[in-house]
Symmetry: C2
Subunit: 231 residues, 2 copies
């Protein structure tokens, strides 16, 4: 806080958080939306959100909202922009801090979907959203794309154990382009961040593909030595 000539502590505002929740499965990159069950804009599709409480930080509020809808804790959750246009919310003036979350879709319980009328939507084909939530989603996608370039956040969207092909499919979904399978494999393995398990996954091919696990500790170590993740 701060001021120069203004009168401080005078006007106050509603403050909310909204969460863009991303997931990934064999159909591609998805987005969790729900149908509003209250006014304004009741019945329309919307992001998950909630109002800030006096005794919690913005980050806490976002975690709370995310935990309520997904039942999950310790999820990748990062603030990316705060929306403050005067008429962005048709009900009242609300300043909204937007967060994006990356979850392992397999960890997600279907019960929450039913309880809140939530549903996964492809990021390329989701319904019209209330207020400026469409803008938020597009901006979150851009943030995700740009972040994924230089930080290994893609693994947040995959199960703990995955094949190189699954990983490539994920990056192809994020960047909306294809990668040469051989070159992709060589590049990611050359980073020495993936540990190969002595187990093959046979669901994707007859031959079977080795499962790998991302080694977070090794990444931290390499990073502190100047290594830069890049894909």
């Amino acid at each position: 806080m701060n001021e120069i000539v203004d009168k401080p502590y005078f006007f106050k505002f509603n403050v909310a958080v909204d969460c863009i929740i991303f997931g990934f499965d064999d159909e591609g990159l998805k987005l969790l939306l729900y149908k509003r069950n209250f006014e304004p804009e009741i019945g329309k599709w919307s992001l998950m959100g909630g109002f800030l409480s006096p005794e919690e930080s913005l980050d806490k509020a976002a975690s709370r909202v995310l935990a309520k809808i997904t039942g999950l804790k310790n999820i990748f959750l990062e603030q990316f922009h705060t929306y403050g246009d005067v008429n962005r919310d048709t009900g009242a003036r609300v300043i909204s801090a937007a967060y994006y979350a990356l979850i392992k879709i397999s960890d997600f319980s279907q019960s929450m979907i039913d309880e809140f009328g939530a549903q996964w939507w492809p990021v390329n084909d989701y319904p019209e959203l209330v207020f400026d939530h469409g803008v938020m989603v597009e901006s979150a996608l851009e943030t995700l794309r740009s972040k994924a370039k230089n930080e290994p956040i893609g693994f947040e969207l995959l199960p703990r154990f995955f094949t190189i092909t699954q990983l490539r499919n994920l990056y192809e979904a994020i960047y909306q382009r294809t990668f040469d399978p051989g070159n992709f494999r060589k590049k990611i393995l050359s980073m020495k961040l993936l540990d190969r398990l002595p187990i093959k996954d046979k669901t994707g091919s007859k031959k079977g593909a080795f499962l790998y696990e991302f080694n977070q500790n090794r990444y931290e170590r390499f990073k502190s030595q100047g290594f830069l993740f890049e894909l």
Copy 2:
């Protein structure tokens, strides 16, 4: 805005904007700070900030604060994070949206410095700041560094006409490393984004160095064709 189970429109908060203002001259990358002339924390060094008004957006509020302190309009100004910890401000609970601005230090009028008790500080050596402003500065620096990698925002910090050496000095200041003069020149010129003027600047050397101008239109065109700026 949005909610799930909470009571909406109940608690309200002070909302502010804070600006991290960067400039660049032959001494390096600088930061504009001022001495607070009001409570709390009067007399301490602080970022420029101001409270949000009911009839203005966050972006507008940030522009207003920036214009007030610098007298400048149409400046590069971008929101990068919103700070919302409960006790971040010792005076009252304030949610603050932080913006960073890039200005051409030569355009900046000294009168503002005097009027507000403002002062330029090297980004490597600035005084202790109030509240979480130090955190904001470091985060703004990180954002600047990461943004500068893939977008030609460095030119916002240079005069309209500049030499390749000035440009290199700027990037060396941003990234805190050196670049080989020959290689840097070849790389930036190979992008075909700089127009050479038939004028030499003699202040930096006896031989004189050609002045260049960044061609924003050409950049937009290249970008729309898939070109990616990278330095």
